[in-house]
Symmetry: C2
Subunit: 204 residues, 2 copies
């Protein structure tokens, strides 16, 4: 859409997304299908429909609990607001942070949490606090009626079935990376060994 493209075929999408064209058609068909045989997809229409599916055509009010580096990094990321995620407030226990303002958002004490959630119709809470504090805060969030927790704390949270938890566990991501580096290394060594073996075979 940014490139001024008006319509696109599933095979053109496939080349850009590195997913097979048939997978793309199948996935979109699951939501009703938005293309026409021989015409492809109208880009603007597809964009609007996918935005509806993802729910980013609506406004979601969000708070950040934990105003450290990670919390501030999220607060400073303006792109979230373009997708309808409005950061309403930030919270911390550190008296040196309370009262500071990050990108127009005031940092408040956690004792104001419940009242703030109700008064500002907050649906989502980003949790960027140490794992020892996370379960207690999660309980308070659930009781205050929060619908989703974006969990950056390095622990799994126990919440009722109708509350969504989306985890961002950075250490898991780093271990995945480590595993892939090691597998790559092993493959290279295996290849080198086979090559050596072949050479040895030829010379004998």
């Amino acid at each position: 859409m940014e490139d001024g493209v008006e319509r696109i075929s599933s095979s053109e999408l496939s080349a850009r997304m590195k997913v097979t064209a048939s997978q793309i058609r199948q996935d979109l068909n699951n939501f009703g299908g938005f293309g026409q045989q021989g015409y492809g997809y109208n880009v603007k229409y597809l964009y609007t429909e996918i935005a509806k599916i993802l729910g980013i055509d609506r406004q979601h009010n969000l708070i950040i609990i934990g105003a450290g580096n990670l919390g501030q990094a999220i607060a400073n990321y303006a792109n979230f607001e373009r997708r309808g995620f409005i950061i309403k407030g930030m919270f911390d226990v550190n008296p040196r942070l309370i009262g500071l303002v990050v990108r127009g958002i005031e940092i408040r004490g956690v004792e104001e949490l419940e009242k703030f959630i109700v008064e500002n119709d907050v649906q989502i809470a980003a949790l960027t606090i140490p794992k020892t504090k996370a379960p207690e805060i999660a309980d308070r969030l659930v009781k205050a009626g929060i619908k989703a927790i974006w969990n950056f704390a390095h622990t799994d949270l126990q919440v009722p079935d109708d509350v969504v938890v989306e985890n961002v566990h950075l250490s898991e991501s780093l271990m995945r990376l480590s595993y892939r580096v090691c597998s790559m290394q092993d493959q290279k060594e295996e290849k080198a060994r086979k090559l050596e073996a072949k050479k040895a075979e030829k010379t004998t």
Copy 2:
């Protein structure tokens, strides 16, 4: 292991991990299998073997490029070092940041990047810079011999096949959360509608 447990069965693991016992056995068998029928798994042995698989029994030297809030959040997360990921240096283009020290790590100018990577045997680079700058820096990293990029920039990087890229795209995570909240909402409304319909049926 922290709880002093010496051995554990796949069904006990299953209860803790919310994965079926047969899935756990199957997954571990893919790596050779570490348990004994009727005995279960020796916890310490399993921990050591999984650490080997993930490659976290070795030391990985890491640098962070981008010393903003996100870069500093990563630098401050001491747990990574416990897993063998040693943060050797941080880099930025901002002259106000260059020379500062975060948890004992000096922030350097990006012009020193290539020399530093070679001299410090750096394998992994965390990229916490804006997406417009990411491709250029990624190219320089690859040429300097980096093995893996931990990519927090909101763009997909083009690298050779033997360089690992592990993406942490926060906006994708937030959209996944949004989608799940909306699906949950839809399910609730659907349920309510069905209940209404049933009630209406009874009264007629």
